[in-house]
Symmetry: C2
Subunit: 375 residues, 2 copies
């Protein structure tokens, strides 16, 4: 019997509420996964993540391969033991980071050779090697190696698709652990025909989960949503759908309404370290002078530790004084904003009122959104 | 009836176990107070401090006066509400920081004029002003303004003593809030006769608590301990004794064995941000290569969150990768090391085995202390 199952418990339009069972527990979808690039969600402890309701974390194969190395993680009992996270973990394949972070890279049909952004050392990722590394890391969900070209370059996307598809087959063949689920990644940039072709190919290989890669990397919001609209009918109803690297409050709602189950993004945690807090009425830049004596919490309707305990005035003081606690407290709030939104959206789907929930959420968000101050 | 009381529950030699009642709860002594300079203990939340057993926090009047300003703190409901700490708080008078941090200062009989280390702005502290600021901040225990000269300079200490004593009288006269306890500070450098003279004068003014200032600032350990030995007979048995700015594991034990009840120090938190962990067998510098695949916790006998959850290998990874979580987790451990030591020492005093506890603790600490690696 498989360690994994995926059961859709409710549908409302294209939106779905489901449960994904993994060896480290069950995940309720729609779900937002905080990103722990280097085996830590920056500025918060696993205990704080549990308290704020996180259940799935993402970690980056590229980063962990370079430092501390997958062998060290394996020796320490795998990623769950290493980083002190008892619930499910997903690792990406490193493909996106090779194309966005590494200093030099040379891609060929067999794989990609690249230099570390840390020390310039040379490394090679092939489909087989990336599966081997992810098997050493030991996450519950692992990802196939893919190529991520510029989303608007048609020729590059056609070429990349051939590689991504061939690598997907090789990743499937290389995988040996049966306590990990390997998800395939569909690419194709902003081109709906390429996207459809890629989804159909990846679905056809029998992956237990389908990821949409290469979005939110330079295309417009309208282009991203058009892609999601185009591919939704081709996505199998009985498998989880993962939109990679997307995670503003607005994008989360829009993607779920287009049939996406799972998203991850560095956005809420990175924003927190830049002193901006997410609210249903737009972002609050806590460094701003008007908050110096503001006794209100970030969001009076938020139940997170930060909003229960601290004023905007205190958070501004921490930020202005350069205190690490500022990043920690705003991170706790921002992750709560996404995770509680996911929970409310799930309930709305189960109650068959997802449309009205999404419409009123998006209307309030757009109406009140504060102008972005110059940083 | 006073909001404060001090009851000594046990004595063993010169060491004491007592309870200090304050408007924000009872403190069991001997006690170590973590330092929250800018209204935050760096890198940890109040919830984490509560979980690790902290009860009294110190905050710095000098820093909070400069930023965000005592009026802002008062407007936000006082320091407890502002920083989200429900248990007792102590503020220092700012005297030490004026003499150690400010860019320029001119001292006169009436007070001290200094320039902010942040922006060069000019400020003036008098005894009356320092009490006013501390009354706005609203800590449970507040401190008299004192002058801190070089500990080995006899003439400077004689001159400073006259000012410190006159300022102590003016602080007492200026205080109006009866939900705060004002402690006096005895100075005198390394000179036992000056120290005795100062303790006798400060005790004679009737302060409900006596602090020993100006130690651990350049003198030798032997000189510090000689001062504590010299003054102990002159310290009243029925009032708390506070040794300011001292807080290594070894110093804590030695001072408690000489009749000290309360200490504070940035040492454990600052050390943590420099990647060093305190253990009963000496310091562990977690950046060191030998810990790269070390599955053990910092201290197998420690019950803190960090030691329950994470290996030295993980902590080293965080430190090498520059992740903030490293500072947070090591801070949690280092504060636990001091606070749990205080608790065990208290029990040993109540059980009349403080001598043997201290002797075996100090012997193990000295025997195993690792050589300090070159940073």
């Amino acid at each position: 019997m498989s360690a994994f199952s995926f059961v859709v418990e409710g549908r409302d339009g294209r939106a779905r509420a489901a449960t994904l069972r993994t060896p480290h527990g069950e995940l309720r979808t729609p779900i937002f996964a905080p990103v722990g690039t280097q085996a830590t969600v920056k500025a918060v402890t696993p205990a704080q993540l549990e308290e704020l309701g996180a259940s799935l974390l993402l970690a980056n194969t590229y980063h962990l391969h370079l430092r501390p190395g997958a062998q060290v993680v394996e020796q320490m009992g795998g990623l769950h033991a290493f980083m002190g996270w008892r619930q499910p973990i997903l690792t990406d394949s490193g493909g996106y980071q090779v194309f966005s972070l590494s200093d030099r890279r040379r891609i060929d049909g067999d794989g990609v050779t690249f230099q570390s952004h840390l020390d310039g050392s040379s490394h090679r990722f092939t489909p087989e090697r990336v599966i081997e590394i992810q098997q050493q890391l030991g996450a519950d969900v692992i990802m196939a190696l893919d190529e991520c070209p510029e989303p608007q370059d048609r020729l590059a996307n056609e070429r990349a698709l051939r590689r991504t598809h061939a690598w997907a087959e090789r990743c499937l063949a290389a995988k040996t652990r049966n306590d990990q689920a390997l998800f395939g990644i569909a690419q194709g940039g902003i081109f709906e025909d390429l996207r459809l072709q890629s989804v159909e190919f990846i679905v056809g290989l029998g992956f237990p989960g389908i990821a949409i890669g290469g979005l939110s990397v330079g295309e417009t919001k309208a282009e991203m949503l058009a892609v999601l609209d185009a591919i939704e009918p081709a996505l199998p109803a009985d498998r989880p759908r993962y939109l990679m690297g997307v995670g503003s409050l607005e994008d989360f709602v829009q993607a779920v309404m287009r049939g996406i189950d799972l998203m991850d993004c560095v956005f809420p945690t990175r924003l927190a370290r830049n002193h901006a807090a997410l609210t249903p009425l737009g972002r609050i830049h806590l460094r701003s002078a008007p908050y110096a004596a503001d006794p209100r919490p970030i969001d009076p309707d938020c139940a997170c530790y930060t909003c229960r305990s601290f004023s905007r005035a205190y958070l501004r003081h921490l930020v202005v004084a350069g205190e690490m606690l500022g990043a920690t407290l705003i991170t706790i709030h921002n992750l709560t904003a996404l995770i509680s939104l996911a929970g409310r959206l799930r309930q709305a789907i189960l109650d068959h009122r997802a449309d009205s929930f999404a419409a009123s959420f998006l209307a309030a968000y757009r109406k009140h959104r504060l102008p972005e101050p110059v940083p």
